[in-house]
Symmetry: C2
Subunit: 303 residues, 2 copies
């Protein structure tokens, strides 16, 4: 047991997965939970991954040693305002938001003296959302990034790190702004691009939706998987990581135009060199253990 009582604010994919993992490994004495939607609370009660499900966040955090804000980034300010007065001195508040700068701005002003706020971001998820989508293994071998601000209690950080490691994650710490830039590259922009391509496909009159669906080969299938992620979460990500996202998108369109130009002018050498180079990055990812080398394009096929 790492924390006596853990409170989950929000009971979607991430929170429910954390609850399942805490249960499996006995990491929490007890788990309190709450969600804004009555339906979500009802499902959580039915599945039973919390010991107590409360109607309000204020009730849920009472006596908790670790409070996990697992709501969309845009809801962080309101939730923090609500729980602030009810937090136990010495407790730790963390979050799982995909953006860190904006979350720090939203949450910090509401944290009372003596409460440790340690922003966090588990780089894990699926295209599913909601309390039924959680599973204990979600974080295994995935990275969780903590972005503690200057002067944060080191013991509290070490304890939170141990908690994430017990759940199965690798843990790193990073500056919040740098986190937001790294994630703009590795996650936020790829998501926006996938959403866009899926939208274009749907919009094209001369190709029917059923053709798009039927012949969705590897490339596009992966895009639709990405583009099926939770719309509220992603709206908030883009609105709250505006600067880094727009910077990376600017570079992206610049490069895309260069490749478009190579296609238009028939510059095969440019294309070949570019495509050869990107292969090397893929090899790096496999070597870093973040994906397997098994051919995935034939997914669903038993080998």
């Amino acid at each position: 047991m790492i924390y006596q009582r853990v409170a989950l604010i929000g009971l979607g994919l991430i929170a429910s997965s954390m609850a399942h993992a805490m249960r499996r490994d006995g990491l929490a004495g007890s788990i309190a939970g709450t969600a804004r939607s009555a339906e979500t609370r009802e499902i959580a009660r039915e599945i039973g991954f919390c010991d107590d499900v409360f109607d309000t966040a204020a009730e849920a955090v009472a006596d908790a040693d670790l409070i996990i804000l697992a709501v969309p980034v845009g809801a962080m300010a309101d939730v923090s305002r609500e729980i602030g007065p009810h937090l136990k001195p010495g407790s730790t508040v963390t979050d799982v938001g995909s953006v860190k700068g904006a979350v720090i701005q939203a949450v910090s002003p509401h944290m009372p003296h003596g409460v440790h706020f340690i922003p966090g971001h588990p780089l894990a998820g699926t295209e599913h959302s909601g309390p039924r989508s959680g599973f204990a293994e979600l974080f295994e071998r995935r990275w969780t990034i903590l972005t503690p601000v200057e002067g944060t209690d080191e013991e509290a950080v070490a304890k939170l790190r141990a908690f994430w490691e017990a759940i199965g994650a690798h843990v790193d710490t990073m500056d919040p702004d740098h986190h937001d830039l790294v994630l703009a590259v590795t996650s936020h922009c790829p998501h926006l691009i996938a959403y866009t391509m899926v939208g274009v496909a749907d919009d094209l009159r001369r190709v029917t939706d059923s053709e798009v669906i039927k012949y969705s080969a590897a490339g596009f299938r992966d895009f639709t998987r990405i583009a099926a992620s939770d719309p509220t979460m992603w709206r908030d990500v883009f609105l709250s990581n505006k600067e880094a996202t727009l910077e990376i998108l600017g570079r992206f369109t610049e490069e895309l135009f260069a490749l478009q130009r190579a296609i238009r002018t028939g510059d095969g050498e440019h294309l070949f060199d570019y495509f050869t180079h990107t292969r090397a990055i893929r090899r790096g990812i496999i070597e870093a253990g973040q994906d397997t080398d098994a051919p995935d394009f034939g997914r669903g096929v038993k080998r």
Copy 2:
């Protein structure tokens, strides 16, 4: 047995997978093969998925009833010129190129009277290439599109369709130009976009390659997988499906700019509506049986 003798011109992922499937199901009396590279021929001999491996395409096609052109699109013209004079009257020539209009232009002039040329495209593949990457199940439940031109012998088309179905594929026929547009949407443009995003990530000085690799969450990991595909094949795809690719890329950048603008102006409603809409397309793909609903972002995690 559907064909007495099948000749594979090119011995990469697609050809070797076809050979394994033919062997498994006894679809060919015997299999001849050839590849331009001596190393590839040597590996094919070592693995033994052909009965005979020849040094030249001219030798390989002698006496074959079905000749499968499984070389990059840019090599189709040369290969066709070479084999044309050696083709057996009544034999069928097909190909597996990702573009059909350009292949028809490249191959047709070299086909002698009495030989049935039936262009084809199996929508299957992995990010691996070469003779060692093949496996018999690659085409199972995937679509193969045949694009026979006006006046093609119906019996020859029916036989080729039966052959692909025996290999495990669903088969459809389509107009070549329409094929090229559909594929620009579902495969060619998604690939180019993935290549571009991976290139941008690599190019960004303030984020190190090792950070990109370490924190490559779901979105980016899927992109690198796509961007690891065979560079020669993809160069040829873009050069030979120029018109449709550039049209779709034009629409893509237009939509992307609209989303970028929504981010810049803080138009959350636009983003939310867009992201909600793309979810529906994903559901269609799952219902069409082209992908599973299992959460894949936690891939590599045993459940």
